[in-house]
């Protein structure tokens, strides 16, 4: 211990006591959590409000249309003058077509990009590629939408002559490209988090770089990778602008990818931008469809959190 009296200034302990920070700190420590709680509360309340509205209007819809015919109906003809039909399946099928194509496109490309970035790319390559991916993620979806309609569809038509102007294929592929950055960057994060010691362990046994990537890094990062895929899928399910622009507005219950379709989101846009009278079944139907969509994404989020727990490899 240094003897404080031999120095010109007071000891640090004395200076601390004199500064008297403690009282002010105590007050701040009391107030800060309250403020933070209120702010957090706003977002929780907003969520509750939205879900409550959704449920309330959905319930009203089911006073007018039977739940069974909604869930199991294979015809979605809300604008029919004679006999409107509200079977959600065609809209779900439309959404699933888009999602399927998007995932098929995005998972291999996104994973390949992630493996390249985390295992092979030099610092220089990474410095170029990562910002490009971020730009890809930042393109407004409306731009993707007319890109699908005015570029991808005509190109695809030269390969598949039967392809209609509005179809599932083109927006599906473009939605796929839209979610690639999400899969690539989240998966890359998961793979980069795998400790180097593990790579070295495998390399020291004579594994090649590719074997290390596929048999050590990929399994160790599996939970993060699966979660990224699920979140990206969720994004694809909820995607609206691209499918509204390039997918068409024909709800169909079939397995055809070349013709016009309608997704849940595109239907909501169609009704919202048209003039459905307040109180009509059409008006309420968008809430029912919106609620269905909400259940889908909720399920995906639930899945994502289950997967992260289930496949977490401890290291």
């Amino acid at each position: 211990m240094v003897n404080p009296t031999t120095r010109e200034r007071a000891s640090v302990q004395e200076l601390i006591a004199k500064a008297g920070n403690n009282k002010r700190k105590k007050v701040i420590e009391k107030i800060i959590p309250i403020i933070l709680f209120l702010i957090a509360g706003v977002s929780v309340l907003t969520t509750i409000g939205i879900v409550a509205t959704l449920i309330f209007e959905t319930v009203t819809f089911f006073r007018q249309v039977s739940l069974l015919s909604f869930i199991f109906g294979t015809e979605w003809l809300p604008f029919s003058n004679k006999e409107p039909k509200f079977g959600i399946l065609p809209l779900i099928v439309g959404t699933l077509k888009i999602t399927l194509i998007a995932v098929v496109v995005a998972v291999p490309i996104g994973l390949a990009a992630a493996i390249y970035l985390s295992e092979y790319a030099s610092d220089n390559a990474r410095r170029v590629i990562k910002p490009v991916l971020e730009v890809l993620a930042g393109v407004p979806t409306i731009v993707y939408g007319f890109f699908a309609l005015t570029f991808v569809t005509p190109v695809l038509q030269t390969i598949i002559p039967d392809l209609k102007i509005f179809n599932a294929l083109s927006p599906g592929i473009v939605v796929g490209f839209m979610i690639i950055p999400m899969i690539a960057s989240l998966s890359e994060d998961a793979m980069s988090a795998v400790p180097n010691a593990m790579r070295e362990g495998a390399l020291a046994m004579g594994a090649t770089k590719f074997e290390v990537a596929m048999k050590v890094v990929l399994p160790a990062a599996l939970s993060g990778i699966l979660a990224s895929v699920v979140l990206a899928t969720s994004r694809a399910i909820g995607e609206t602008m691209i499918v509204s622009l390039a997918g068409g507005s024909t709800p169909r219950f079939d397995a055809d990818f070349t013709g016009s379709i309608q997704t849940m989101t595109a239907y909501i846009v169609q009704v919202s931008t048209g003039d459905a009278g307040y109180g009509t079944p059409i008006y309420y139907s968008i809430y029912a469809v919106g609620f269905t969509l909400f259940l889908f994404t909720l399920l995906m989020n639930f899945l994502a959190s289950r997967i992260t727990k289930r496949f977490r490899e401890a290291y």
Binding site: P195, E200, G201, A202, Y315
Partner: protein, 278 residues
């Protein structure tokens, strides 16, 4: 030191006269011959004119103060050091007569013949079984029966079979640090390498696990050539046949372990082993 003397009577006799040492050395063929090896990390000259003949079925200990290049040297032997950006080497290392820096020499082939155990246990986040089977599998062994056999044999070889035989399917990370290290040794044994490199394999272990690993090294010597980096002088004296003393990237002295610890030729070696610096 006492243990050392008791260990093998015939060897003790040999060390009485240093002149006889070269004769005895000649009996065992050289596995790894390092000739005028230099290594730079960028501009940092980490290994300087290293000459070291390492012989078959012997334990060679590498000792020296922190930062003297022990890990660098051992990682050069299986070319793991090249994972660091900006590493340059000159000179040659002959492994079984072939220069490992030769452009035609595949690192994968080299590392299949030369196993490595790291300072910190680094099992894969997989089951114990899959950890051991990893090496054989990537090298194309798929037969379940053969794999089972390899796994058991390797775990026995690493003196951990009895502790884990009932839970081969649990994650290797559920084991203690000492057990994990022996799993890593078993993993290295599973491809039946020719040489095993160990970089401070016991520095993260408790005394009992350390003892187990040391005994293991003694047994493994029958079938493998072992190069072990250690900070523990007693350990080097207990388990090694030859000792190389590194200082500032140079080999100051390389000789029989008995000789190094009882009658070192260089004053710096004596200072180091008697704890006067380092």
């Amino acid at each position: 030191m006492v243990q050392l003397m008791n260990r093998t009577d015939n060897e003790t006799k040999a060390t009485v006269s240093p002149m006889e040492a070269p004769v005895r050395e000649a009996a065992k063929p050289v596995v790894y011959d390092t000739k005028q090896l230099n290594l730079w990390y960028g501009s940092h000259h980490a290994l300087k004119n290293i000459d070291l003949p390492i012989r078959e079925n012997e334990v060679t200990a590498i000792i020296g103060p922190s930062g003297c290049g022990k890990s660098t040297y051992i990682k050069t032997l299986n070319r793991m050091v090249e994972l660091v950006d900006g590493v340059r080497t000159s000179g040659e290392i002959l492994y079984r007569g072939r220069n490992i820096f030769d452009a035609k020499y595949s690192v994968e082939e080299l590392r299949t013949r030369v196993g490595m155990v790291f300072q910190k246990p680094n099992p894969f986040p997989k089951s114990i079984y899959d950890n051991i089977a990893y090496g054989p599998r990537i090298h194309g062994i798929k037969n379940k029966k053969i794999l089972d056999e390899i796994v058991e044999q390797s775990l026995r070889g690493a003196a951990i079979w009895d502790e884990v035989k009932d839970r081969l399917n649990t994650n290797a990370y559920s084991l203690s640090g000492g057990q994990q290290q022996r799993i890593c040794i078993a993993r290295a044994l599973a491809i039946e390498p020719d040489v095993i490199l160990m970089d401070e394999p016991t520095s993260a272990l408790d005394p009992i696990s350390t003892l187990k690993v040391e005994e293991l090294v003694q047994e493994l010597k029958e079938n493998y050539s072992i190069i072990i980096v250690t900070h523990n002088m007693q350990q080097a004296a207990r388990i090694s046949d030859k000792t190389a003393f590194f200082l500032n990237g140079e080999v100051i002295e390389f000789d029989d372990t008995d000789k190094i610890f009882q009658n070192p030729a260089d004053q710096r070696t004596e200072d180091y082993i008697s704890g006067r610096f380092g």
